[in-house]
């Protein structure tokens, strides 16, 4: 997503070139904190300790700016089952905690009347590499299951109670495709691009939602009303009838003060463009646009950068 934006923006204003390296959130946050890069991007927001570390080092804050929205979907491979499965929060947490071990468990079958689920053992597949996808997935499971929250928690890598690890979206997808009776999770964009089957998830209003870009934006809109001023908000399990519950913002991490005025203005110019014209590129790459309320709030916050 970011490479596309930086390319397009460079075409528009050839004076500005943004050098983007994809190195992962761990290294990204470290480099931003150390000041070796001008700004960063992350799938998970920085936590309070990391914010404090930045503040202590530089004397001013680091700000979060939501850019687009992504979602994570459950995907599965059950021989004989071709319809979309419905997943309740209880079913998902139970499967990933290792408490629901058979496909015909009442917690799954109850939400899938008329589907002939086999009594086979469920093979759970998760990401082995640290990833924003795992962060969103475990953030969701932490919200809907107290047991998950206390036993496992959320993070780019966690101590998984059960299952096999696949490297990357392609590793998880490959294991699920190969292994009968497997269930895993992948980014929505990956599932769409590779035409993988994925299930619906029951949201906080009780509706089963099949993830699509509109549902993701709806989740963001549901959360936008209570958007905190620092934009660090999780929109998993968001309110709203049409909201897809396993959605998330991704953020740019921008320091509140720049010593180089030209750099500051260039970056502000880019973020303004990204919030307006840039949003139109999101959907062609299977990411969801930001809701209008969030964009308005960000434009205001952008003025705060000195």
């Amino acid at each position: 997503m970011y490479s596309k934006w930086f390319d397009e923006y460079h075409k528009k204003d050839t004076n500005i070139e943004i050098n983007y390296q994809s190195i992962g959130s761990g290294g990204g946050i470290k480099q931003v904190t150390e000041g070796t890069v001008d700004f960063g991007a992350s799938d998970g927001p920085m936590n309070d300790d990391q914010l404090k570390a930045f503040q202590d080092k530089h004397g001013f804050a680091i700000l979060h700016f939501p850019t687009v929205l992504g979602a994570v979907v459950p995907t599965y491979n059950i021989p004989g089952v071709t319809t979309d499965l419905n997943f309740t929060p209880e079913a998902l947490s139970g499967i990933f905690l290792g408490k629901i071990t058979k496909w015909n468990d009442p917690a799954i079958a109850g939400a899938n009347k008329g589907v002939n689920l086999p009594g086979n053992d469920i093979v759970v597949v998760h990401r082995s590499d640290g990833s924003g996808t795992s962060y969103i997935w475990t953030d969701y499971l932490s919200k809907i299951s107290d047991e998950w929250k206390s036993k496992v928690g959320k993070g780019a890598s966690v101590n998984w109670p059960v299952g096999l690890g696949g490297k990357g979206n392609e590793g998880v997808a490959g294991l699920v495709k190969q292994t009968a009776n497997a269930v895993g999770y992948v980014e929505l964009i990956y599932a769409i691009q590779n035409k993988m089957p994925y299930g619906t998830v029951k949201n906080s209003s009780g509706a089963f939602i099949k993830a699509d870009l509109a549902g993701v934006t709806a989740a963001a809109a549901g959360a936008a009303k209570n958007m905190p001023d620092d934009f660090r908000v999780s929109i998993t399990d968001a309110p709203g009838k049409a909201a897809y519950p396993i959605s998330s913002f991704t953020w740019l991490l921008i320091p509140a003060k720049f010593s180089d005025g030209a750099k500051r203005d260039a970056l502000k110019g880019f973020v303004k463009w990204m919030l307006a014209d840039g949003q139109n590129y999101a959907e062609s790459l299977s990411y969801a646009k930001l809701p209008k309320e969030v964009v308005a709030k960000e434009v205001k916050a952008l003025d705060g950068i000195q």
């Binding site: 959130s25 082995s128 490297k167």
Partner: protein, 329 residues
């Protein structure tokens, strides 16, 4: 690297600047100095590596101490880190791979060096060198797309039926796990063993073979009792190379091992290796302790390589003494 022991009789300490300049003009001293620097750089890089790993893991080392080696939990959220499942996975997969690769590799090398016609031997050598140069991600793909389904659908069910009473072949057949990782590693290291062992076997002097044959040995006796013992040190060297590659292999292992930090007697069980977990988690490791624990794992891998190499060397020393005794008899 014993450049100091050249044939120069006066290679002692330099007495006068005049004689130094004269020798400098001859170039020997320059060559000596340059090659010494090359040799020293190996030691320097090793020391730098250990130093960096040691410095980079200071927090984790102080927090966990030796318990790091014995702890089975790896929980980034709780800040609990233990190396045991990763050490286990690294050792088990490497052992499985050598168990398969050593007999196959040495057998193939004996055929190529002793029995095959030169044309066949050279042609095959070309393919073996090609295999040795294939990037490991390609072997990983081969493992994931070919070996894993083969294991799951054919080999593991059959092993379970025939040898299922052993603790090594129990549990569900996912296709991935210790055994599959060991097999993929074996495929990767066999070319090294064949290529180096074949060269060593070919360099055994012709007289040795002829003498054995003249004493009435069969072809096989001359190969097995004379040529192979003669080349033993070189063959062991090829096994070291294979072991080093197996211990440190990252990409191919992570694609087929299942990436689950578990310790199990069953080779069907999914596991994890040190190199794989570092590659998987380092980029997204935030905070202070978590990345340091991963760096400490790197230190552990270094140590493990060091210890296993040492053990292997002792083993060779022991067998070579027995071997030469046999040769004398």
């Amino acid at each position: 690297m014993s450049t100091a022991s050249t044939t120069l009789p006066s290679a002692g300490p330099v007495v006068g600047s005049r004689s130094f300049l004269r020798r400098l003009r001859e170039g020997d001293e320059i060559v000596r100095l340059i090659t010494f620097l090359f040799a020293a750089s190996v030691v320097l890089i090793t020391l730098l590596l250990v130093f960096e790993l040691w410095q980079g893991s200071v927090l984790a080392r102080h927090k966990f101490g030796f318990a790091f080696f014995a702890t089975r939990v790896w929980d980034p959220n709780a800040g609990e880190f233990g190396a045991l499942p990763f050490i286990f996975g690294t050792v088990v997969t490497s052992a499985v791979s050598l168990l398969i690769a050593v007999p196959l590799g040495i057998g193939a090398a004996i055929f190529l060096a002793e029995l095959a016609p030169a044309r066949v031997s050279d042609t095959l050598e070309f393919f073996i060198d090609l295999l040795a140069a294939v990037p490991s991600v390609i072997y990983g793909l081969l493992g994931f797309l070919f070996v894993v389904p083969l294991m799951r659908d054919f080999i593991q069910p059959r092993l379970k039926d025939s040898l299922g009473f052993l603790p090594f072949f129990k549990g569900p057949a996912y296709g991935i796990g210790f055994l599959t990782a060991g097999i993929v590693l074996a495929i990767m290291v066999i070319p090294y063993i064949i290529s180096v062992s074949r060269e060593v076997l070919l360099s055994v002097p012709r007289d040795q073979r002829e003498a054995a044959l003249a004493l009435g040995s069969t072809r096989w006796e001359s190969t097995w009792k004379v040529v192979v013992p003669f080349a033993r040190t070189g063959i062991m060297g090829s096994i070291f190379l294979a072991l080093a590659r197996a211990l440190g292999e990252t990409m191919a292992v992570t694609m087929v091992i299942g990436n689950t930090p578990s310790i199990s007697a069953s080779l069907f069980s999914p596991g994890y290796s040190i190199a794989a977990v570092i590659a998987n988690e380092f980029t997204e490791a935030t905070g202070d302790l978590y990345p340091q624990a991963l760096i400490e794992l790197g230190l552990v891998l270094f140590l493990l390589t060091f210890i296993l190499n040492g053990l292997a060397r002792i083993l060779i020393l022991a067998t070579s003494q027995r071997g030469s005794g046999m040769g004398n008899a």
